[in-house]
Amino acid sequence: MKVRLVDIAHARSGDKGDTANVGVIALKPEWYPFISERLTRDRVRAHFAGVITGDVERFALPNLNALNFLLHGALDGGGTLSLKTDAQGKVFSTALLRMVLDVPDDEARTLGLPAARP
């Protein structure tokens, strides 16, 4: 079944030069291992293809049930140069939460993951 990341995690993002960071936090601690396994660097890089120009770095913070992603080349050269509405990367957080994950039905049931609303 399909699970929306926005239903199982929350997030906050910010900027540092031309890099946006997105911290993703599991809504329930028992969902963190699942989120950590699914949100690989490659998966997040593919999600932001065409949105950022640089690479993606990934860091795990199991102590906070969180992952931190650095999205390089996200801000047109940096906050003050950028012409974007989101020049400071404040809503890259919810852009990442748009991700939809395919999860085998029994795994989703075991973890109690909510199914995406149609």
């Binding site: 906050r12 900027d15 031309d18 911290g23 936090i25 913070l61 931190n68 906050g79 012409l83 974007k84």
Partner: protein, 459 residues
């Protein structure tokens, strides 16, 4: 060692300002809403120093965050009568003038002699820039590796991020208000804890705990329910939001709280959101005082609107300081128009094509020309999903160029579209877009030995 009677002592540091422009009510609410020992006010963002530098060029007595003077007026009774101490990086590029303005506030309130202002200087490297480059400090861009000489003639400001040590010294010398220039945001919280608990300069775990306490409260209400995505609908009484306070203990553990009878919410999710804000490599949060490890932070609920923080580890500081350099980088302007139903998006797209064709025919060249459709895809770009016909769309076009004239000409091309472009257009009441000079940010490193801070206590 046996437990000293002071082992349970709590020092309260309150956050009253998360950036220059934050809620004017917050500092007063923090000192009046309950017990606090220190009020910490953070005014500086990456490019704030360059704005202040421009102000100082126009008037040598300016160059600091004027909001701070109003804040001091509002908290002065607490400082004078109840011994609350204030620590702020409001000094910008002119901490000495800022300190004199604070003393003037005290004098006018009849409290001269009861306010001692510690001033920290030495972070300003602008006057020394050529000397530093000549003696082999390249100040290369931390990300691109370019030498500073590439933009040297356009530099507006250059400041080293300095740590807690000079603030601790000012407190030790009896200051009850400390004003700094480009101190790190986190040092404003850590310094009073180091001063109160006597933490040594190599007690890495405690220093790291102080830094992380600072990180959690440095953005004001952003850890107490503001801008909080978790369960946002149910966060109570945002109109009356309580700003955060750290209740710190000598062992480096602390609890994040807010005053009673305030709105907002402090819980593990709200504090976690702030922990990950503007984070780089969580293993190495590098500050002038210590390298803090965010993967060692432990959070635990400790009653309503209380989160206990413990387990934090730190490592020795590096021998470098980060330098924040701002330089002129051309001009930009952003223009907007609003298109109404029916077919709002189609009309906005046509207007964008017309605008671009006109700019092109005039031969105007821009480094960048960006179109966004607000209400459709402005914030999430290609990730945005359409959910039916938009009821209205704001066309938002921005340009950037080293040529000011090209940007100015662009600003004259928006309004005409109201009469000579697609129909059902409105929302141009703000007039022509403003041309803004772009100030870009150049992060670099410099040897610590190069930067000598000094502390003066004025009264």
């Amino acid at each position: 060692m046996s437990a000293s009677p002071k082992a349970d002592r709590i020092v309260r540091v309150a956050s009253g300002q998360g950036f220059w422009g934050d809620w004017l009510e917050a500092p007063r609410r923090q000192v009046e809403g309950g017990p606090v020992d220190y009020l910490m006010l953070d005014y500086l963002a990456e490019v704030t120093m360059s704005i202040l530098q421009k102000q100082k060029e126009r008037d040598p007595a300016m160059g600091y965050a004027r909001d701070f003077i109003g804040a001091m007026e509002s908290v002065l009774p607490a400082v004078v009568d109840r011994g609350v101490k204030v620590i702020a990086n409001a000094g910008g590029v002119n901490p000495v003038s800022c300190a004199h303005a604070v003393l003037e506030v005290a004098r006018q309130a009849g409290a001269a002699g009861k306010v001692k202002v510690g001033v920290v200087t030495g972070d300003d490297l602008l006057p020394r820039l050529d000397e530093l480059i000549a003696s082999g400090h390249g100040l290369t861009h931390m990300e691109t590796g370019e030498p500073l000489s590439a933009v040297r003639d356009r530099v507006l400001s250059a400041n080293a991020y300095i740590g807690s040590t000079p603030i601790v010294e000012a407190l030790a010398r009896g200051a009850n208000v400390v004003v700094t220039g480009r101190s790190t945001d986190t040092a404003l919280t850590m310094a009073p804890l180091r001063h109160e608990f006597g933490w040594g300069a190599t007690e890495w775990d405690k220093l790291a705990a102080g830094i992380i306490a600072g990180h959690i409260i440095e953005c004001g209400a952003q850890c107490s329910g503001g801008n909080c995505l978790y369960d946002w609908r149910n966060i109570p009484d945002l109109a009356n939001i309580g700003y955060p306070i750290v209740e710190a203990r000598a062992d480096g553990t602390f609890t994040v709280v807010k005053h009673p009878n305030t709105g907002g919410r402090i819980n593990v999710p709200s504090v976690t959101e702030q922990c990950v804000y503007e984070m780089g490599d969580p293993h190495s949060y590098i500050t002038p005082d210590v390298v803090a490890d965010f993967t060692t932070i432990h959070l635990a609920a400790d009653g309503p609107d209380r989160v206990r923080v413990y387990g934090i580890k730190g490592r020795p500081a590096t021998d470098k300081l980060k330098v924040s350099i701002a330089y002129r980088a051309g001009f930009k302007a952003v223009g907007t128009l609003v298109y109404a139903w029916p077919d709002a998006m189609d009309k906005a797209q046509l207007a964008d094509r017309v605008l671009r064709e006109r700019l092109d025919r005039m031969g105007l060249r821009f480094d960048q020309l960006l179109t966004e459709f607000v209400g459709v895809n402005a914030t999430h770009g290609p990730l945005a999903v359409s959910s039916g016909e938009a009821q209205e769309v704001q066309l938002r076009v921005g340009v950037r160029s080293p040529d000011r004239k090209a940007v100015e000409r662009f600003t004259r091309e928006i309004a005409p579209l109201v009469l000579n472009g697609p129909p059902s257009v409105t929302g141009f009441a703000g007039g022509r877009p403003k041309v803004e000079e772009i100030v870009a940010y150049w992060p670099a490193l410099v040897d610590k030995s190069v930067v000598q801070t000094s502390v003066e206590v004025l009264s």
